[in-house]
Each structure stands twice: as C-alpha cells, then as structure tokens.
Symmetry: C2
Subunit: 350 residues, 2 copies
C-alpha cells in the first residue's frame, strides 16, 4: 500500500492478539500510514491479513525489513524485541515496544499519554508501552495524584485470558465446553505456558500471572509495582499487587485501594475528580446498579471506573473498581496513542 502522506509503519507480531488489535486500531483512528509492513516469526510468514480492505502478506521479521521504516510497533514477545528493536532503531525507525523488554530501561520512556506524554521527549529510539494491567490503573490514579497526592496503592486484579494470547483464549473456551460435556480436560497453557504446571482456568481463579520471582511475587505483580512507580515518576510510592487470572476473554478488572496524601475528600469528591480524568469514563451509581463490567468494556478504548468508596476507617483511603479492554487501552490503543503523540510532538525522528 502506498499513500502520498504519512509514515512508513512496520508491525512485528501481526498475527497475535495484540497485533490484530493494533491493525484494527490503526485503521479505526486513521493513523497516517504511507506504507505498512506486517512482520512475524518465520512460522507465520506467508499468512494473509486484512487491513482496511486490503490484503497484506505477513513477512519474516529481519533487520533489513526496517530499512526506511519510520515507526515500528513490536508485539511479538520480549526476546524478539531484544533482538530486533535495536536493529530497527539503527535503521532510523522509532520503536514502540509492547513487550516487557525495555520497560524498566532508564534510557527508555514508559508512556501512558494521559499520564506522562512529556517523557516522550527523552526517547532515544525506543518507547515502551506498559503492561496492560498497569496502564488502566495509572490512568485512574493520575487524576487522584494531581488532586490529592498518592500515599499507598494496593491492587488485586481480575485479569482476562486474552492477556496470555489467542491460544490461551482457545484453551479457555475448549476447556469450558469439555467441562460442560463432563469430559476430561488437559490444561496445557495457563497460567503460564512455559511454566511446568498448568491448571484449569474454566470456572476457576488462578493466582498466578507470569512466572514467580525470588521475592514470592509474580513477574506480572512486579510489573505493576515497578511500572507504576516509573510512569507516575515516583520511585518511593508504595505499590503492592496480587494478580489473578480469570475465565474472562477480554478486559481486566481491578480492585484498587488508594491512600492519598491529602485526606478528607468524600467519595463524591473523588468521583468528580475521576470523572474529569483523561481517558476515564466514570460508571458509578449504586442506585441503578451501575458499575464497570469486563463484558461492557470489551472493544472500547476507555478506562472505566466505578464502585468509588471512601475507606470505612481511613479518611484518606479509597476503593475503586477499574475495568478496561486489555488489548486496547492495555496494549494496542495505548501504542497507537503513543505513535500519535510522537507525530504530534514531532518526535518520530531523533
């Protein structure tokens, strides 16, 4: 495809769950594309992909593919990014990396545009897109931080299976049908495909996302902790997380407890602050049973916040229920927002 105006874009990992959402989001938001290359591992090369009515052929991702590319989205796992992102940068591309490879690299801005768009000015070729569960939480925390300051954050997550990839979604649905049929099941992917043991996800809740770290927390939990501090530019902010996988296809839900520096705001004050927050849609009315639901959030770019309550004992404590589509604001949509910000700020070239 060739257009007069726009950027030369490459997408690595085009056949994955996030890759497919990236293509949809680029099309829906009419991102200014001049040429688009869809790249992947050798295994998926040759596959056909629809984009805006055109059929594109997936090609193998090699260093040379990035010649002439302006923006390269990476969404094919950390090892691919580690290997190829520097090659893309060397050839002049700006990389928006959706893996965890560079997120905590001090040279790499980790960006949620509603929160820290300004950090893009510091990029040296790579911009990291945060972890899905982190993004939706920091979008909700940012207006609270601005209004009252943050003192402590504790989050328990209710995460969707699509965060583990399309094959995990297949496993969930297949296993669900087998259980309904009273057939034997054989979990092979969840909670972590590369880990030794696999557990039933259908009609269950698994308190493990990604592998365990030496401190007893999982890597997903430590992502939430470390990325939140980096994005909010507050390395001393106390953040702790418990991450749990649920039999939900798409959209992560989060039960977030926040203590603020300034106390005394009522739940209504907090709702007002959240309602005005960038990227947030407040859904909070107990009288009409209005609160965010994973099934409602699917396919929408917003971060939905509800169940806003003042803690019963701490006058500076608040409870929130935060829901967002993990493949959109949690991944593809945020990545495209980063690209848009780079264009707007004139930062696609260093």
């Amino acid at each position: 495809m060739v257009k007069k105006e726009g950027l030369n874009v490459a997408l690595v990992g085009a056949t994955g769950a996030v890759g497919q959402q990236l293509l949809t989001t680029l099309a829906e938001r009419s991102f200014p594309i001049k040429t688009l290359k869809v790249l992947s591992s050798p295994r998926s090369a040759g596959k056909k992909i629809d984009f805006n009515g055109e059929t594109l052929t997936v090609e193998e991702a090699t260093p040379e593919q990035f010649d002439g590319v302006d923006i390269a989205f990476f969404s094919a796992g950390g090892s691919v990014s580690k290997q190829l992102a520097p090659e893309a940068v060397k050839r002049g591309a700006t990389v928006i990396d959706n893996t965890s490879a560079y997120r905590l690299d001090e040279q790499v801005p980790l960006v949620v545009p509603e929160v820290n768009e300004g950090d893009l000015h510091k990029h040296q070729g790579i911009v990291a897109n945060p972890n899905c569960s982190t993004i939706q939480m920091v979008v909700a925390l940012e207006p609270i931080k601005k209004a009252y300051g943050l003192k402590k954050v504790i989050v328990s997550t209710y995460q969707a299976v699509s965060g583990a990839g399309l094959s995990a979604v297949d496993e969930m649905y297949e296993q669900t049908q087998q259980i309904l049929n009273d057939e034997a099941i054989s979990p092979e992917l969840l909670p972590v495909s590369k880990d030794e043991k696999h557990y039933q996800i259908a009609f269950n809740a698994i308190p493990q996302i990604d592998v365990f770290q030496d401190n007893g927390y999982t890597f997903e939990e430590m992502k939430m902790v470390n990325e939140t501090k980096k994005i909010l530019n507050d390395s001393d902010l106390p953040v702790s997380a418990t991450c749990v996988r649920l039999p939900v296809e798409t959209s992560h839900s989060e039960s977030v407890y926040v203590e603020t520096e300034k106390g005394g705001a009522t739940a209504k004050d907090m709702q007002g602050v959240l309602k005005e927050g960038a990227g947030i849609t407040l859904q909070d009315d107990p009288a009409t049973q209005t609160y965010p639901l994973a099934t409602d959030a699917k396919g929408l770019p917003d971060v939905f916040v509800g169940r806003v309550r003042q803690d019963l004992d701490a006058e500076n404590g608040y409870h929130l229920w935060v829901v967002s589509d993990n493949l959109l604001k949690g991944a593809a949509f945020n990545s495209v927002q980063i690209a848009e910000s780079l264009v707007e700020l004139g930062l696609t070239k260093r």
Copy 2:
C-alpha cells in the same frame, strides 16, 4: 429414623445448596442424630431426600415441628429464620442459623469454632453461623492476630456462584453454554435475584454481591466488615471489603491484605504461624506453583492459604490468598462444627 443415643435434629431449608451440604456433612461426621426432620417451605414439602441410605420426606416448616427438637439448623433465608427461629427456641431447641438474620444481634453469638468457640457459652437459644466469605477470612486472620496482632484488613473477594443458590449455578452453566453456542442470553438471577438489573456472569466478573447500602458498599461487603469485627471481638479493627462474583461454581477465593500490630515478621514467619493455625492448610510454594485454587478446595473442609508475601513497602504488611469451599467451611461444615462444639460443651440446652 430412631437411634438410642443422640439428638433430635431439624433442618430448615433442606432442599437448598447449603441444606444439602448440611445433610452430607452431618452424615460424613457421624453427628449423633436420634431423629432427623427435614423441613422447608410449603413449595418443597413432599420432596424426597436421601440421608445415610434412608429416604426422608420433606415436611413444611411450622412452629409445631420444633416440639422435642434439640438442635435446629436454619438455612432457608433470613425471613424464615426471623419467623421460625424464635418458635423453635420457645419449644426448647437450640438454633444454628445460617442466614444473616441474627448475626449482628448482641444477644446472639456469631461463631467460627476455631476462632471464638467460647462465645457459645453466651447463647440464649440462637447461635449464628457467619457469612461464607467472612468465615474463611477470620480462620486465616486468627493465628496472625494471636502472633502479631491485627491493625488493618483489606480484602478483595473472588466469590463462587453457589453462594447465590443452586438456581444461580444453573443460570451460570446454561448461560455459558448459550455463549459457546453463540446464542442470545437473558440473565435473570445474578448478581442479586431480587434486584432490578441482572448481568452476564459467564466469562465476566460482577462487582456486586447482595444489595447496595446507603454508604456505597454492598450488604455482602458490610457483612465481611461487621462480622469480622464481632467474631474477632475487636470492634475498632479497620476492615474494608470489595466483593466480586465470578463464574466459579464453588469455593470463594480472597486476596487479603493485613497489617499487623507487631512488625518485622518475614513471609516465612507468617507461613509458619498460618501452618499451625486451626482449620488451615498452607499451600504455598512458588517453586512448584503451589497455591490454593477454587477447583481444588471444592468438597474439602479446610481453609487453604497461600501466596503469603510481605508487603513490598510496609514491614508490617502481608498479602494472602485464602480459598475455601463456601458451602462447607463457609456454611454447612461450620454449622456442624458449631453443633459439635455445643454438644461437647454441654450447651445444647440452656
């Protein structure tokens, strides 16, 4: 049925989810039964029920049915307990009530035997069985309280559908099959049958259990708050809860954050304390991906605790994952334990 030794027992609500588990538990634990009456609403009267190889006929629960009864288990909703428990007491029965009707009544002990068996001495005819989500949490909190004292508790729950009754379980499975078939669904029961709106539970997470209170918390959340304080005999203990319904048939999971009075215990210290706790089975080894799972806990009386971690910032903060069968330790098993304690302490008669 007539035996020489034992008590005259009545069970109100014999056809419900908890009622059926009560019958199984009474049989499994060889509770000393002389006669057993199975009672229910007029609608279910006449139904046949198996108990220990015998077939019992369900009879309508009327005041006169309690003549000569020693222990009456109530599990047919709060309004039935409000109406008939005093009638049973008047006729000399000791009532073990599994509804919320009397839980916060100052005259009524609210008992989890591992925690506050001694409160049974104060009973005046009625003993209340706490809410399912509360029971498993206080079993986990009690040894922590004894060893280090409790300063603050924050819980986010992952609750099973059977807590809303057998018809809710049917709705979940039926709805799941409809979604797998790509058919339209029409939620009618969950999250709260008597509430106005009903939402999809299959492949979803609903942040509402029971009706909303004026303070923005749900009744389930306030049960956890108020019952925990009463059972632990600490009305000043800060407790806050967010209660969420999941597409899980049986066993509630809970992400519990605890701050202790005495700080400095390591996660290993805490594991040691929990391992010795009455009613607790510790399942906690990240190296072998060992942690409690709802599907594993089903059918077992234990409270399973794992994912024990020290908070990353608060040296007196700890995170736990607490799982138990909501129909057993959360209801039937705890009720039978109360009955056993009453017998052992000679408290079946006032």
